[in-house]
């Protein structure tokens, strides 16, 4: 299993150069069964990453480009009257795929946003009194531009909370970008091959709870969230849902590292991705250089008995 995930990481690394850590986090999120929010400027490879993720796991993939006039029906699907059967039949929308890339999620109207987020939470879609199950595994990758760009509806805190992780890709380093530019043009769209089957992914997800979290590690997580609640540095404190997300992601990270127990480093590795978007306030412009989660990490001793 370890080797398969390593393979997946190296496969995707061929497409997105110099971003192993972010790729690993994205995989962690997928294994943990949560949804992923990628936040970055245009042209950083958000779409490429999600496409690659879907391909590597051999999952069905669809992409919804969010615009301000996108309606919920465009995404969920519609009931159309079938004149032969004299009945309505449901035509599923692009959401009914295993990996859904919701591109530029903050450009859509709040109504559409909340329809998507509801589907993410419930794993099902209700339309005209009928409930339609979404496929499994169901993995939404939302991307969003930094909010100070024009024409955006920032996601409220309550909806940001639905995303297990939020990562930023950031600019590639000198060497990676040089390599990218030197690649021949046709290699840029090199086809990836599936490494892990969807069934294997589901199995991984089911074994997640077997990763042992000792009391020491749970205490560490509790110290972290308590600190965020008691300190005055953080606009928003970490909720119990956040602490659950933290444990879940850390487990997934440990599993990818092929370890059957958690150590503080697992928590520390996933904390920035899990906590940053929950800690900061959506109201204020957030300068990216001061990372709240980093601040939180540096205040809490993982060993304190």
């Amino acid at each position: 299993m370890q080797t398969q995930i390593q393979q997946a990481v190296s496969q995707i690394s061929h497409v997105i150069l110099g971003k192993e850590q972010e790729i690993k986090l994205a995989l962690t999120c997928l294994v943990a069964g949560g949804h992923l929010l990628i936040e970055d400027l245009p042209g950083m490879g958000k779409t490429t990453l999600s496409n690659a993720l879907a391909t590597v796991f051999g999952l069905g993939f669809s992409r919804i480009q969010f615009t301000s006039d996108l309606l919920p029906a465009d995404m969920l699907g519609v009931n159309i009257f079938d004149s032969q059967r004299q009945a309505f039949s449901f035509h599923p929308g692009p959401l009914f795929q295993q990996v859904v890339l919701a591109d530029e999620i903050n450009r859509a109207s709040p109504k559409t946003q909340s329809a998507l987020l509801e589907a993410m939470e419930e794993h099902q879609v209700s339309l005209d009194g009928e409930t339609h199950e979404l496929p499994s595994p169901f993995f939404v990758i939302g991307t969003q531009n930094p909010q100070h760009q024009a024409g955006t509806y920032p996601l409220p805190e309550s909806q940001l909370d639905r995303f297990l992780m939020r990562i930023q890709l950031g600019y590639p380093n000198w060497q990676a970008e040089k390599d990218m530019l030197k690649q021949p043009r046709q290699k840029d769209v090199r086809p990836l091959s599936p490494v892990i089957s969807p069934a294997a992914l589901l199995e991984l997800q089911q074994h997640l709870d077997e990763v042992h979290a000792s009391d020491s590690i749970i205490d560490y997580i509790l110290r972290l969230v308590t600190f965020s609640r008691e300190s005055e540095h953080f606009p928003n404190a970490l909720s119990p849902r956040a602490s659950k997300a933290l444990l879940q992601s850390a487990r997934s990270w440990a599993m990818i590292d092929d370890r059957d127990y958690l150590i503080p480093e697992d928590v520390q590795a996933v904390l920035p991705a899990v906590a940053e978007h929950r800690l900061r306030s959506t109201l204020t412009d957030h300068p990216t250089q001061t990372s709240l989660s980093q601040l939180l990490l540096e205040q809490v001793d993982p060993l304190a008995a």
Binding site: S214, S216, Y261, I263, P264, L297, E298, V300, D301, A305
Partner: protein, 682 residues
């Protein structure tokens, strides 16, 4: 902006509010009324927030406006209050505003801190046993509030038990500090509170003393060591008034100047004394005045006490709190004038005009009686022969008071008699002065004597060839006053404590009993708690240790420390045992300490594996390898499944690894040292 209500059903906030209101209202003399009203408002706001009648806090803007207004008012009216009262008012004002604003933890803790301070300040102004109990209770309430702040959902009962337990634990420490910490005098000069003055004043218009005599407040207490002098001999001298302007008697300004000069040069007055001696201790109540009390000729060797040149005793500072001092009185010793010329000059001073009838009368008397003794006798006779009355309700005599008193009213209080007599003697060319103080005192069993404000008295002193002689014209008019006290002396007009509710209650025996009991308690409180000074401290230590020597004190101190340490050890030993138990975490901490000593410190937020990697980068492979193993064991025991079941084996391994690490580091150190030495040699 309206903010949500943080106080709804918040017991911590409620208790804080109650304590703030209570402690402010006990300070109602030093605090200004409008500030008390603000405090009251803040209390009402907080309580209605607590009951959730009101759902929203007052907006910050309103409070800011209120704060600016109050600051202006305080700045306008508060500047004449003096530093301490001004600060106290400012503090109470700030407290009330903060209480209205109280929203987050920081506000709360600030208020708690200030509350403790305010309670301390309260003890500066009120020191009686009841107030002390009240302040003690307020302190407990504050602690309770803190307890509720920390664990809001615990029940009242459990919280109270917890606080009671903790306070009991603090009690021995408190007692020890009380007995051992040296008593320091106040480090600041206290401003005099307005309106709170009772007791003798350095200016006496004869009607004043009659006013004072309506008060049943305690003036001071005395405990005698030997026999108690007779009632009519207990003239407690407080002030000598030598300056007369026709209406008012006051201390001579020149005497004050002189005294200050002596005090600066620390030139103490040591009157020659002889004859039998009475020793006693005086416990004075706070009076905001510096003068003290003693029977003539009173000598005190206490360093706090200044021996006045007119045979009175003075404190170096106005009495903010009660003071206890020892006095020896030489009752038969003459009161020789310090500088006779000065005494003569000061005590023959007269206003230039006024009281013409008295002037004429004395002139006539002087022509008849040439010697001093005869003249005094003649004046005394006038008092006896005429129908003079001793009364607590003299009529006001605004114009030429001596004339009016001697020839028209013929009824007055002791100050009237003393004033008229002194004036008459001075007119006749005999140096005389008025002395005020107290006469008598009520004995309580054999233990102590209480002297109340209604024992206030004034008498005359004239300068004879062998010193100052006491002359009490009141005795001529009302011998009862001397032998049985004021109550008997004015029994005929039924004016004793006429306004006091106590008087009506005095008819019931049990009320008297109860009052006596309270008196006794108050006496013990003043003597042992308030009056506990360095002398008492030494007495207690002597009683405990025998003769005081450095060695004994050292041993006693060390023994105390040792006992405390042993008690602490007994209390905590279980906890320590757990710590000392060798767990993998313990070995890991040891290895971290070792590395720390060698210059590699784990940033406190770093996880063990990351730190192991950091060690790999900065240490040689053999050491980092050992540490990697230690880290591995630690991770195994702390984080892996079932880690704490196999600690036995892990402990064994970690001990070996730790020793290896120790040796490795030592070797590295010595090799570095060798390298340095080689460098030095070369």
């Amino acid at each position: 902006m309206n903010r949500l209500n943080p106080s709804a059903y918040n017991h911590a906030h409620l208790l804080l509010t109650l304590v703030l209101c209570a402690s402010s209202f006990t300070l109602f003399t030093p605090l200004q009324t409008w500030i008390l009203i603000l405090v009251g408002c803040a209390g009402i706001i907080r309580i209605s927030l607590f009951l959730n009648w009101q759902k929203h806090q007052i907006s910050v803007r309103t409070i800011n406006l209120l704060a600016i207004l109050s600051a202006i008012v305080l700045a306008t009216f508060g500047w004449q209050l003096g530093l301490l009262l001004g600060m106290l008012n400012l503090l109470a004002l700030a407290c009330s505003l903060k209480l209205m604003l109280l929203a987050n933890r920081r506000d709360y803790f600030q208020l708690i801190g200030i509350q403790f301070f305010l309670i301390g300040t309260g003890l500066v102004f009120n020191q009686s046993i009841l107030f002390s109990l009240l302040y003690g209770m307020l302190t407990l309430m504050l602690l309770l509030s803190l307890a509720f702040h920390i664990s809001p959902s615990t029940s009242w009962r459990a919280q109270t038990m917890r606080i009671a337990k903790m306070s009991l634990q603090a009690l021995p420490l408190c007692l020890m500090l009380f007995l051992i910490i040296p008593k320091l005098g106040p480090m600041w000069q206290m401003p005099v509170g307005k309106g709170s003055e009772t007791g003798l004043s350095d200016k006496v218009t004869p009607g004043d003393l009659a006013q004072l005599a309506r008060s049943s407040e305690l003036a001071f207490r005395v405990s005698f060591e030997q026999q108690v002098p007779a009632m009519n001999q207990r003239y407690w001298r407080a002030l000598v008034l030598e300056e007369f302007d026709g209406k008012t008697w006051q201390t001579a300004p020149y005497r004050d100047t002189l005294r200050r000069r002596y005090q600066r040069t620390n030139n103490r007055f040591n009157p020659a004394v002889s004859g039998p001696r009475i020793d006693y201790q005086v416990l004075s109540e706070p009076s905001q005045k510096p003068w003290l009390f003693g029977l003539d000729v009173a000598i005190s060797h206490d360093s706090k006490i200044w021996q006045g040149r007119e045979y009175q005793l003075l404190s170096r500072f106005p009495l903010q709190s009660g003071i206890a001092y020892k006095v020896s009185s030489y009752t038969q010793s003459p009161l020789l004038p310090d500088i006779e010329v000065l005494d003569r000059r000061l005590n023959l001073q007269l206003p230039e005009s006024g009281n013409p009838r008295t002037r004429q009368w004395v002139k006539a008397l002087r022509e008849q009686h040439k010697t001093e003794g005869e003249l005094i006798k003649a004046v005394s006779e006038y008092f006896i022969q005429q129908d003079f009355r001793y009364t607590l309700n003299p009529n006001p005599m605004p114009v030429d008071p001596v004339d009016q008193f001697l020839f028209e009213e013929q009824a007055g209080f002791c100050a009237h008699y003393a004033g008229a007599m002194t004036y008459a003697l001075r007119l006749a060319g005999i140096p005389a002065r008025m002395v005020t103080g107290y006469l008598g005192g009520e004995m309580r069993g054999d233990a102590y004597m209480s002297i109340y404000q209604y024992d206030a008295h004034a008498w005359v002193e004239w300068l004879s060839e062998d010193g100052w002689k006491r002359l009490d014209p009141t005795a001529l008019v009302s011998p009862l006053r001397l032998d049985f006290g004021l109550q008997q002396a004015v029994a005929y007009e039924d004016s004793f404590l006429a306004d006091s509710p106590l008087r009506r209650l005095q008819q019931f025996a049990w009320v008297n009993e109860f009052r006596m009991l309270l008196d006794d308690m108050d006496y013990l409180w003043s003597k042992w708690i308030l009056g506990f000074n360095r002398d008492n401290q030494e007495d207690v230590l002597k009683a405990l240790l025998g003769e005081l020597s450095t060695l004994r004190l050292t041993i006693a101190g060390l023994a105390l420390v040792a006992i405390t340490a042993i008690l602490l050890a007994l209390y905590h030993y279980k906890h320590w045992l757990v710590l000392a138990k060798k767990t993998p975490a313990y070995y890991y901490a040891r290895s971290l300490k070792l590395l720390d000593d060698n210059g590699i410190t784990r940033p406190h937020w770093m996880g063990p594996e990351d730190f192991s990697k950091q060690v790999q980068q900065s240490m040689s492979t053999d050491i980092s390898h050992i540490f990697e193993h230690i880290t591995g064991c630690y991770l195994q025991s702390c984080y892996a499944r079932g880690g704490n079941t196999k600690t036995q084996g892990l402990n064994q391994r970690m001990r070996t690894l730790l020793n290896q690490l120790k040796q490795g580091l030592k070797k590295k150190k010595s090799s570095v040292r060798d390298a340095q030495r080689i460098d030095n040699i070369s």
